[in-house]
């Protein structure tokens, strides 16, 4: 019995890189471990986008199956798989929103499998709780319009034209809000987002 916490600790200590290698070997235990590590985060993101728990669960399943089937295309480095996983989740959720709303699928310039090398060196601790708190604080510092613009872009996949229409504002104004917000976030998180 004493071995159990030690084994659990060893599993937790395993890096994402090792997890990806095991996924590429089609080790189902690795998928289980990936879900245990990031399942809540993925579900939280998707349910924020689609605002329906049942649909969100379907999309979470789709996300993890996509990762399972496409892990070969991910370059296993020392970094975190979480940003890639979140990108897959976001793309699935926004795809759903767009298909449900009859909108054209145009938000996904960056397909998650397009450039594997992009995802392999992201810092392992990028999504630690301290950084998430900091980005929340930075989002809170944005003006309401700026924050809404960023959220509409990220969580609803709206283009800037669609945001302008949704917000009833000129396109130029929305573009300014978006750029200003992104610059503010970049400045606030300058040390959080490594160069």
């Amino acid at each position: 019995m004493l071995l159990l916490p030690i084994l659990l600790a060893l599993r937790v200590a395993e890096g994402d890189g090792d997890l990806v290698v095991r996924l590429q070997r089609r080790d189902p235990e690795a998928l289980a471990a990936l879900y245990d590590r990031y399942g809540r985060l993925v579900f939280s993101l998707i349910v924020r986008v689609v605002r329906d728990a049942g649909i969100a669960e379907d999309l979470v399943q789709e996300t993890f199956l996509r990762v399972w089937n496409r892990a070969q295309g991910f370059e296993a480095g020392k970094g975190s798989i979480a940003p890639w996983l979140l990108a897959v989740a976001r793309n699935r959720a926004i795809d759903y929103l767009r298909s449900a709303g009859g909108r054209e699928r145009n938000a996904l310039e960056l397909e998650e499998t397009a450039h594997p090398a992009l995802w392999s060196d992201i810092e392992q601790s990028l999504l630690d709780s301290d950084r998430i708190r900091r980005v929340k604080a930075a989002m809170d510092k944005l003006s309401p319009n700026q924050r809404q613009a960023i959220e509409l872009a990220y969580f609803e996949g709206l283009s800037q034209s669609e945001m302008a229409e949704r917000m009833g504002q000129p396109l130029g104004t929305v573009k300014t809000w978006v750029r200003t917000a992104l610059r503010s976030l970049r400045d606030e998180l300058g040390t959080a987002v490594p160069a």
């Binding site: 579900f43 979470v60 979140l86 145009n106 310039e109 992201i122 978006v178």
Partner: protein, 245 residues
């Protein structure tokens, strides 16, 4: 288009908001492995991931994990059986220990009973022998120890069966000592007639089997001797019973 011109467009690209011609330009840079654009896009993706992580925390149903794993054809280990299996194992261990203890207890009780039976068999044999002496028609009886303090009792002598000593008020022999009975002839040295101990209540019964020349015997006596006994008495007798005829 150079990199400074693209600087403000990487994050827009990562969020799906880039306009043309910057969008195509960045795609083209990425497709030829432009290191500057790769690094900038990586930072933009990290920022996007952090924004995604600000979604309010929510928990999926517990069934979702099993559903996902099942959809890969993987049957996860049924953790639900683990406590049951552990319980069965624990119960088995407990039962083994318990019944092992019970078995040891039964074995001990059986050994005790065997010992008790052995003692009772010995006692019965002695009683039979004693009865044979007592019932003999030619058995002589001698009483000894008339006073209140000394050992009291009787000596029964049968010419064919032997000598029976029954005593009371006979204190336990000191440590390392034992009572020895003597058949003392009218002429000659006392003959050793066996060793014995008194009971906790001061009673004693001792039998010396075998023929006795009653006519030639003057007395039966008991002395305290060392544990191995003695060939001849070494102490003053604690019991002396002159035979009466």
């Amino acid at each position: 288009m150079n990199h400074p011109e693209l600087r403000d467009h990487y994050e827009l690209f990562a969020l799906g908001l880039a306009d043309e011609p910057e969008k195509s330009e960045i795609r083209e840079h990425l497709s030829r492995g432009c290191e500057v654009c790769m690094a900038e896009i990586r930072k933009a993706m990290e920022l996007a991931a952090l924004v995604g992580a600000t979604a309010p925390a929510a928990a999926p149903s517990p069934k979702l994990r099993r559903r996902i794993l099942a959809s890969t054809g993987y049957e996860p280990r049924r953790i639900g059986w683990l406590p049951l299996a552990a319980g069965v194992a624990l119960f088995s261990l407990f039962a083994a220990v318990y019944f092992s203890g019970r078995e040891n207890q039964y074995a001990q009780e059986a050994a005790n009973l065997r010992e008790q039976l052995r003692r009772q068999t010995i006692d019965l044999t002695r009683l039979n022998e004693a009865f044979a002496i007592l019932a003999g028609p030619e058995t002589t009886v001698t009483t000894f120890g008339a006073g209140p303090a000394p050992p009291r009792g009787k000596v029964f002598v049968n010419a064919r069966q032997g000598v029976l000593l029954i005593a009371s008020n006979l204190p336990a022999a000191p440590r390392g000592r034992i009572y020895e009975m003597w058949v003392i002839p009218k002429r000659g040295n006392p003959a050793p007639a066996g060793l014995f101990q008194s009971q906790a209540d001061g009673t004693a019964m001792h039998i010396q089997r075998g023929p006795v020349d009653v006519a030639a015997t003057g007395a039966v006596a008991v002395t305290l001797e060392s544990e191995g006994g003695a060939a001849q008495p070494t102490s003053t007798p604690v019991i002396v019973a002159p035979l009466e005829r």
